[in-house]
Symmetry: C2
Subunit: 415 residues, 2 copies
Amino acid sequence: MLAEIITIGDEILIGQIIDTNSAYISKELNKIGVKVYQITSIQDDRDHILQSFNDAKKHVDLVIVTGGLGPTKDDVTKQTFCDFFEDTLVEDMNVVENVKQLFKKYQLNKPLPANFQQAMVPSKATILANLHGTAPGMWMEKDNVVFVSLPGVPYEMKHLLQEEVLPRVVKRFNRPFIYHKTLLTYGLGESAIAERIANWENNLPESIKLAYLPSLGRVRLRLSSTGKNEKLLQESIDSQMDVLRGMLSDIAVGFEDETSIVGRIAHILTQKDQTLSLAESCTGGSIVEQITIEAGASSFFLGSIVPYKTELKTKILGVPSSLIKKHSVVSIEVAESMAINCCKLFDTDFSIATTGIAGPTKGDGKDEVGTVCIAIGTPHGVISEKFSFGNDRFRVIEKSTNKAFEMLLKEISKN
Amino acid sequence: MLAEIITIGDEILIGQIIDTNSAYISKELNKIGVKVYQITSIQDDRDHILQSFNDAKKHVDLVIVTGGLGPTKDDVTKQTFCDFFEDTLVEDMNVVENVKQLFKKYQLNKPLPANFQQAMVPSKATILANLHGTAPGMWMEKDNVVFVSLPGVPYEMKHLLQEEVLPRVVKRFNRPFIYHKTLLTYGLGESAIAERIANWENNLPESIKLAYLPSLGRVRLRLSSTGKNEKLLQESIDSQMDVLRGMLSDIAVGFEDETSIVGRIAHILTQKDQTLSLAESCTGGSIVEQITIEAGASSFFLGSIVPYKTELKTKILGVPSSLIKKHSVVSIEVAESMAINCCKLFDTDFSIATTGIAGPTKGDGKDEVGTVCIAIGTPHGVISEKFSFGNDRFRVIEKSTNKAFEMLLKEISKN
């Protein structure tokens, strides 16, 4: 059971937006046993769309098309659907009604003629009601291949996929099970890991695939398998993963499918009924943003401060100005004082404090761009470390954030 | 002059990572007049790669391939390149030397045999030196079509593209100029804008293309054109953009190619020598993160606090607990008090304060999920507004953040 995802619209091809829809759709299809064969982004051009539809039809059972359904002129998708399916557009009264309802509920003005054009749909299409926008989804078939058209607005696409498309795919197709499990590791390179686990990897059953996914300071190791017996599949991957985790116990953080590193921190703190606060200078809110984006953060996270201006480290956090003067603002000593005072100010068990030079300029300090000090306040004292993270601002912030989470996880995992 | 981008690797097809590389490459190619015809993501499977190469060769002049170059087993790309170009792998001594140098500089351990496999390259390839990683880039030609292979790690890919690929593309191909200009608007829907500018749009010259790009609460309007005379191209787009901006002056925020809304806020505050602080409750650091990710934030941004726990609004920000008790924590009154006290605490001209229920649960308040109050502290007082942003946590945070920036921009733009 294979699928292709086709996105229509210039904005991806000129790099104006990043295609997050396809990643979401791929993940959801995988969960119900549908393998994505290819993702293709094309212009909203009739010939190019037709060619992609014909190519896709040769290789896959299901084609999911997103984009190209807006009420304005840059869209040719629906007419091309008609050409491909030898069909014509007709007015769908349910869609007309939906447009009226949406405007009544959410808009000050009345719907315009352009909004009602959304109700013109191919006569052979099964219409998928879009409760969150005016463009409906469409389900059509040709030579046993299913084509689904969805609006490109992520929120609308997601609802239609979950409520209308996936249940229909489950009913319409026989699918195997696909099972992935991903181990997160920190601190060792791809090749060094490969060398360490070579014997085990060479003896993996044919049916299990291992992938290495490296990024800044981390390598994720993914085991995948496809089959008819869900239980057997999970058992074989889980038992291989146990072996892998055992070989990498010094660098393994947890499983990605269960949890990210933030998820793991949240889980441990919540379970131990302990709390966290933050004092972020050079990371400028990157840490707090990653913590609060997860639901349930309020059960362990109390608050955070970004003392961007040096004087605020003294005024609000109470870091002695003499300490800053003596050691410079980017120092182990200042980071530790920030962490200790952060625990006091917010009354928490743990804290993270960062101070450093993200760049591109050095500021008023004597330290090089990329110098970062991170401290973790704990119920038993404070630990800290000084790093050089290079001269790329984005990377300095990202690496500092990752390192801070890694240091915190180590501390909260102790007894 | 057309290009195709092909990404190799399962991680995009199973939705484990989002393809940001292709957006970056597209944007950079556009700047030098290369139009991206298609972006294709495929598995690291020999037959699929060969088929995609052959398809691409029919339509474009340049194929940029990313991914599939790691030192571990999940990669078949280089061998497939050899098959496609009827070539064999040979050892490149410069790459060997680069691997040695990188390990000396950045790693504690010595390079492993797997690391030196990176030096095995097709004999016909021009090798593009990768100073930031062990996998080199490669440039090959077949029947007048150029194929470039780059590692998938974003940082390495970006350096190779900028330093090795783009200069070679500029030399090798005759390219037209491509010019885009995008107007950011807030507060009016796609159809309503289309209706208002219909006359102008219908009379646009054939050579200029208009695209509508809607997202939460905003519509971006992009004018694009391609031609040989760069100056003429810019002039014709700029003058049409002036007309468009004039018609939409009540909802236009600025041009996207120049600046985002945060960039515009930064520009105005820096120019007026005024300062900003933040008190973010329900947005949980999403606002501060967007401000500090930009270089130069320290010239106007002094600091921020995330008082996630209700008591901290009183303890650190000084919001009277009687006020919270009387009006509830999600109220105009509390938001305004937060904004006023935030200006005082951080000693700034302006502040943003947010308080609300992002969900998924209601918490202890009586308000519905999605209720958000935003206040802007100014030198002349405080303004505020209450919103209902629906019941999706991510959207509540994103909408609140966008709305807060919009409200702040309005205030700082006065006089």
